[in-house]
């Protein structure tokens, strides 16, 4: 991190207090000597000790808010092992052990929901690495800067619109009675398709609309990596007689591999996140069979049906697996691409 530490004894396991005490006596003994080096350091150390409360005070408000709104709900996860009743609270509701988890694995609909989640999210992850990668490589071949920037800006735009807006637009455009898309495919003689109400079409619609929304965002990450490729590598490749395609294959893509690995491994943590906002704004009971995911299921059983404990249990199942995968993802990203977030 290349920070110059103001303290001479930067050892983390020694408290500055102890260090200071040890320093005191020898310093006093030689106080006559014009030994200027240790003095200001010692002063600053004292100063740090005195002012440390200020640093604590500055983090304090954020800690309180996080304790209430992030950590208290984690404590609330005990509900998953209780038969929680709002009027009894966390402390008096009866304990039921792992009953809710057993119910979950016994229910066909819960198993279906987990399967749907996996299918949708894995497909999304694959496409969200491949499509942006292709876009980044293609944009890299554009030498007209205004064109490049305009395309980039436009494909990045849908990322900023919420799924409520995009959902509204999609419902209008995909409507089976005369939505724009059905009009277009009607021109080539295909009967209207109920994209959002048909179990064969719902998943493809979700994947494609996700590509539409998020490609631009991921492209930017890859594009930064493409432009960072060392130009001398290309020069060497040209000397060896490689054409542009060969250069892409043997220079660009290998150079981008670290960032591709980072994006891929970090998306591991999302394997149980199939995209609540999107699904919730596109689905309906007709497509629960293929489109209902863990998060929408938790919302319906937990908050709509008021089965708080069961909803929490399903949510906890998801959080635990996601936790393991997120940690694994970071570890892999660190190991194979030397990536750290802080």
């Amino acid at each position: 991190m290349g920070l110059e530490k103001p303290l001479p004894q930067g050892d983390e396991d020694k408290s500055p207090y102890l260090v200071e005490k040890a320093d005191k006596n020898p310093n006093k003994a030689v106080s006559q000597k014009p030994d200027k080096q240790p003095k200001p350091k010692k002063k600053r150390q004292k100063w740090n000790m005195k002012r440390n409360w200020q640093l604590h005070a500055l983090v304090f408000p954020a800690v309180v808010v996080a304790l209430i709104f992030q950590y208290a709900p984690m404590g609330g996860l005990v509900m998953a092992f209780q038969d929680y009743k709002p009027w009894l609270g966390f402390f008096n509701s009866p304990w039921v052990g792992l009953d809710h988890f057993r119910t979950m694995f016994a229910y066909d609909d819960a198993r279906q929901v987990i399967w749907n989640t996996l299918v949708i999210s894995v497909l999304k992850i694959i496409f969200q690495v491949l499509v942006p990668l292709v876009f980044a490589l293609l944009l890299n071949e554009v030498y007209k800067m205004t064109f490049k920037r305009t395309v980039q800006t436009i494909i990045y735009l849908p990322h900023f619109l919420s799924w409520v807006i995009l959902g509204g637009i999609l419902m209008d455009m995909l409507s089976p009675d005369g939505g724009l898309v059905n009009q277009v495919i009607g021109l080539i003689g295909i009967d209207p398709i109920f994209f959002l109400g048909d179990n064969t079409w719902f998943r493809p619609t979700v994947i494609i609309s996700d590509i539409w929304k998020e490609t631009g965002f991921n492209t930017i990450v890859f594009l930064a990596a493409v432009t960072a490729v060392n130009p001398t590598l290309y020069e060497a490749a040209i000397m060896d007689g490689a054409n542009r395609w060969k250069q892409t294959l043997f220079v660009t893509i290998p150079s981008m591999l670290p960032i591709i690995i980072v994006v891929a491994t970090l998306s591991l943590g999302n394997i149980l996140n199939a995209g609540f906002d999107q699904i919730f704004n596109l689905y309906n009971p007709l497509v629960y069979e293929t489109g209902d995911i863990i998060d929408t299921y938790v919302y319906r059983v937990g908050l709509i049906n008021g089965d708080f404990s069961y909803g929490t249990a399903v949510g906890l199942f998801k959080s635990l697996i996601s936790f393991v995968l997120v940690v694994l993802g970071y570890r892999l990203a660190y190991k194979y691409a030397d990536y750290r977030i802080f």
């Binding site: 530490k5 303290l7 600053r44 200020q54 709104f69 950590y71 409520v164 919730f280 977030i341 802080f342």
Partner: protein
Amino acid sequence: MRHNTKAYKIFTIFNYTFLLLAAVLCLLPLVHILAVSLSGSAAAAANAVTFFPVDFTLDAYEKTVGNENFIRSLMISVVRVILGTAVSMSLLLCAAYSLSKSDSEFKGRKIYTWFFVFTMLFNGGLVPTYIIVTQLNLTDTMWALVLPTAINAFNLILLLNFFRTSVPKSLEEAAFIDGANHFQIFLRIYLPISVPAIATISLFTMVFHWNSWFDGLIYMTDARNYPLSTFLQTVIVQQDFSKMALNAEILRNLSQRTVQAAQIFIAAVPMLIVYPFIQRYFVKGIVLGAEKE
């Protein structure tokens, strides 16, 4: 770099065409919605509108703006964006200042950092969070929309990384020697130097708050407290008017296709206006986040 082979020239033509098509495809849905919102309701209902308004009229926009529910929700969203960003940024900036110190300067820094990072890795999930917020009697208040999402660990890390890399240590030490305390150094040195980072992350937060709809849906029991995104979600996506207590005429208006399109477009407008200006900040933010140390 020049690639003058014939194959590469052909590729270039295809490449430009393909990228142009992709960009157009990204925009067409918005153009279509805009065209519908500006068309006569009969033409829209008959699916006669593609990318240009038919029987041009501003009727749908008049109905939307004349609907007090829509305007009220819009105001709530504006307040939410301002308050939510202010609260979140103040909390995060203060915390980021302390956490940007080195371990020896700030004992306990590691513990605090992990305390926040852990919230990125694990969370209580929907139902327990909902229970806590309702138990605190925050339902139907602005705080239910502002506080639960105020601590965003990712933004916190971006800020503290920025503090670390961009604030010259010497400046800070000079101020210490002149007798400044941490609060003064934070306010007078760190904040002014970090304006670009603060702007970037504030924009992230504002976009987040403008687009958030789900918390409004679960924490507001009265539809009059819905922020705009939640209002649109119920009216356009769920087509659920039951909580709205509307008279028959407004109800008929709201379910009209042109009016729905107008509402969608109005909700998208703030993003469309600020987007070209803020886009580069976001690019910076992403790259900032992907930066290796």
